[in-house]
C-alpha cells in the first residue's frame, strides 16, 4: 500500500498547506485509478494535484475543511474522457498531528487516499497518508513514496 508522488507535486501541496496556515488547506489528488483501487494495500500514483479553496465557513477554517462538491464534479467531468480521476484528497492539520481525526473518519470515503500534512506555525512538520477501511471503522496508514 502506498501513495506515489513526485517531489515537484509534493512541494505544491506543502506550499498550499503552509500558505493557508493558520487555516486548513485542501485539494485534490489526481491520477489513474488502479485496477485494485478498492483493495487495502493498493498502490496509487498521483500525477497531478489541485489545491482548492477551503469551503468551510469562517467560524472553523482553522480546524475544518470542505471541498465544494461542484468543484469536485467539474474536475471529474473534465477528466472523464482521459480515464483519470480524483483518486485522493490532501488537507492540512495546522498545529495538530498528521493523524486523521474522528471527524476525518466520519466524513471519509473508502478506496481514495487521504494525505494529511501537519503544519506547525506555517512550516510543514509531518506528512502522512491514509486509506479508510471499507467498513468505515478505521484508517490504515500507507507509506508515501517520493520520486524525482
Amino acid at each position: 500500500m502506498s501513495l506515489e508522488v513526485t517531489r515537484a507535486l509534493e512541494s505544491l501541496v506543502v506550499e498550499a498547506c503552509e500558505k493557508a496556515h493558520p487555516n486548513e488547506a485542501c485539494g485534490l489528488l489526481i491520477g489513474s485509478p488502479p485496477g485494485d483501487f478498492d483493495a487495502p494495500g493498493r498502490a496509487l500514483v498521483v500525477d497531478e494535484v489541485r489545491p482548492l479553496p477551503n469551503g468551510w465557513d469562517s467560524s472553523a477554517k482553522t480546524n475544518r475543511y470542505l471541498i465544494d462538491p461542484l468543484d469536485l464534479a467539474r474536475v471529474e467531468t473534465e477528466l472523464a474522457a482521459s480515464g483519470r480521476g480524483v483518486v485522493g484528497f490532501f488537507h492540512s492539520h495546522p498545529d495538530a498531528p498528521a493523524w486523521p481525526s474522528p471527524f476525518d473518519l466520519m466524513m471519509a470515503w473508502p478506496c481514495v487516499s487521504y494525505w494529511i500534512l501537519r503544519v506547525d506555525g506555517g512550516k510543514a512538520a509531518d506528512s502522512r497518508s491514509w486509506q479508510r477501511s471499507e467498513d468505515g471503522r478505521s484508517f490504515v496508514e500507507e507509506p508515501i513514496h517520493l520520486e524525482g
Partner: protein, 475 residues
C-alpha cells in the same frame, strides 16, 4: 426513462469499476434504488443505518442539486444525467460531543449505574484514546478490556506475526491466525468484541523517529513491551509528550506495575536510571513466562488506564507494585521523582528520543565486535569430528540446557561465570555458545579479560539446529 448515473472515481471501484451506470427510473429516488439493487457495496457507503442517503452525499440532476428541487421525488426525463458527488470534508477538530447511542447505553449499562462512571464517564471513555505498545502478552488483556469498556479509539503498535508459541498467553490471537499479522488478528478480535469503537493499527517498529508523533495522538500510553530499549523509548516519549504511561512488565512468575510520567509522578528512569547490562536479564523468549502472568499484569494496566481516563480513584503514580505468582503476593514500594532525572528532572539533558539500542549496550562498535573471535557451527562440528582438544561451554540457563543442547558441552550460566570460571581449563581453547550468540559474546569478552583463549559460536544453538543437527529442538 433511461437515466445515466455518473459516479465519482472514489466510488467506481465499488460498482464494478463503472463510471456510468444506466438505469430505468422516473425519479431520483427510483434511480438510486435501481443503482443500489445492483451494487450492494455502493449502497453500504451511501446509505446511513436508517436506510436514508447519508447527509454528506450530494445528488445532482444534470448541473442542479436535487435538494434544491424535490429531493428524491425530483422527476427525471429520458437522457438526464444523475451525478453522485460525495462531500469531501474533515479536519483536525474532534467530532461534536460523543453522545451515547441506545445500543451503547444497553452495552455499558453496568458502567452507567456506577456513580463513579455514569453517562458522563462513559462519554468520556468514548471520546478518549489509548495507545497499546505491543499486541502480545500484556497487550492482549489490556486491549480486550479497554475495547469492552468502550474506550473510543484504541491504537496498537506491533510488527510481528502470530507465532504458535504466542498462544500460550496472547489471548487476542487464535490458532487460525498463526502466521498472520498480529495487528490484523487483534483488530478483528477487538471489533468483534465491540463494534462501537475504532481500532487504529500501526504496523511498525516503535522508534525514536516515530514515537513522539504517534504518542501525541493519544491520551494514555500503555507499555506492554518486552525489551529494555523500547521501554526506555516509551518512557522518554511519554515524558516528552506529557502522556501518562500505564506500565507493566513480566518475567517468569513475577510482574511489575506502575504509572509513570503522570503529573508530578516519577518516570521509569527515576526508578531505573540505567538499563541492566545486556544479556544479564533474559527475555521471556529466553527465560520463559507463566502464560497467565501477562493476564494478571495486563488486566491491572487496563484498570490503571481506565482510572486515568475517567479521572477517578488514586492512580498508581509514585508506587511500584511487584507481583509474585508463586507466593501469590503483591508488594507495593513507594518511588519518588528524581530531581536529577535526565528526562523528567529539573535540568533535563534528554530533549528528544535518543538511540536506545546504544543506550542499552546492544549496539557494539565494530572495534568491540572485532575483539570477539567467532567460529561458525560448521567449524565447531569439524573440530568435534577431528576430536581436537577444546572445551565447549554453554552459558544459557539450566532449563534451556534441558530443552536442547550441543553434545559435549558443559553448562555454566552467564550469571554464574564470574564465580565459576575457575572450573575451566585455562590452557585449553574455550568455545562458548548460547541460544543465538549474544550472551556467549558477553561471556567470551569476560573470559578473554580473565586470560582465557575464548571463542564465540556465531548463531548459537539455533544455527546448530538449522545447519548441523535438525533433531536439536529450536525454542
Amino acid at each position: 426513462m433511461s437515466i445515466d448515473i455518473r459516479l465519482p472515481t472514489a466510488l467506481r471501484a465499488l460498482a464494478d469499476k463503472q463510471a456510468t451506470v444506466t438505469v430505468e427510473a422516473k425519479t431520483v429516488g427510483e434511480a438510486l434504488d435501481a443503482l443500489f439493487a445492483r451494487h450492494e457495496r455502493l449502497k453500504a457507503q451511501l446509505l446511513g443505518p436508517d436506510g436514508k442517503l447519508r447527509s454528506f452525499v450530494n445528488v445532482y440532476v444534470n448541473e442542479d442539486d436535487a435538494r434544491d428541487q424535490q429531493g428524491l421525488a425530483t422527476p427525471l426525463k429520458d437522457g438526464d444525467a444523475v451525478l453522485i458527488v460525495p462531500a469531501i470534508a474533515g479536519g483536525a477538530a474532534p467530532a461534536a460531543a460523543a453522545g451515547l447511542t441506545a445500543d451503547e447505553r444497553r452495552r455499558y449499562n453496568r458502567h452507567l449505574i456506577l456513580p463513579e462512571v455514569g453517562i458522563a464517564g462513559q462519554e468520556r471513555l468514548k471520546a478518549s484514546s489509548v495507545l497499546c505498545v505491543g499486541a502480545g502478552g500484556l497487550g492482549s488483556p489490556l486491549a480486550l478490556y479497554l475495547a469492552a469498556a468502550g474506550v473510543g479509539r484504541i491504537g496498537l503498535v506491533d510488527f510481528d506475526a502470530v507465532d504458535e508459541s504466542n498462544l500460550q498467553r496472547q489471548i487476542l490471537h487464535d490458532t487460525a491466525s498463526v502466521g498472520t499479522s498480529k495487528l490484523g488478528s487483534a483488530k478483528k478480535r477487538l471489533l468483534g468484541l465491540n463494534p462501537h469503537i475504532t481500532v487504529e493499527t500501526h504496523e511498525t517498529r516503535l522508534s525514536s523517529a516515530n514515537a513522539v508523533a504517534l504518542f501525541e495522538k493519544y491520551d494514555v500510553i500503555a507499555d506492554g513491551t518486552d525489551n529494555f530499549p523500547t521501554r526506555y523509548l516509551v518512557n522518554d516519549a511519554c515524558v516528552l509528550t506529557g502522556k501518562p504511561n500505564a506500565y507493566g512488565s513480566i518475567f517468569r512468575f513475577e510482574g511489575q506495575l506502575s504509572v509513570f510520567a503522570a503529573q508530578d509522578g516519577p518516570c521509569y528512569r527515576c526508578l531505573y536510571p540505567e538499563p541492566p547490562p545486556p544479556g544479564l536479564v533474559p527475555s521471556c523468549a529466553e527465560g520463559g513466562v507463566l502464560g497467565v502472568l501477562p493476564g494478571v499484569i495486563g488486566t491491572m494496566q487496563a484498570v490503571e488506564t481506565l482510572k486515568l481516563l475517567l479521572g477517578i480513584g488514586r492512580p498508581l503514580a509514585g508506587r511500584l507494585m511487584l507481583y509474585d505468582a508463586l507466593e501469590q503476593s503483591w508488594r507495593t514500594l513507594n518511588i519518588r521523582r528524581n530531581p536529577d532525572c535526565p528526562v523528567c528532572g529539573k535540568n533535563p539533558t534528554i530533549k528528544a528520543p535518543i538511540d536506545y539500542e546504544a543506550f542499552c549496550g546492544l549496539k557494539e562498535t565494530p572495534k568491540e565486535k572485532s575483539l570477539i573471535p567467532e567460529m561458525t557451527v560448521e567449524e565447531l562440528k569439524a573440530k568435534q569430528d577431528k576430536k581436537e582438544e577444546f572445551v565447549l561451554i554453554d552459558v544459557r540457563e539450566r532449563h534451556e540446557y534441558d530443552l536442547a543442547r550441543i553434545p559435549g558441552s558443559t553448562l555454566i550460566p552467564l550469571g554464574d561465570l564470574p564465580q565459576r570460571h575457575g572450573e575451566i581449563d585455562k590452557t585449553a581453547l574455550v568455545v562458548v555458545h548460547c541460544r543465538s550468540g549474544a550472551r556467549s559474546a558477553r561471556a567470551v569478552q569476560f573470559l578473554r579479560a580473565q586470560g582465557f583463549d575464548a571463542v564465540n559460536v556465531a548463531g548459537g544453538i539455533l544455527a546448530w539446529s538449522e545447519r548441523i543437527d535438525p533433531s536439536v529442538p529450536q525454542y
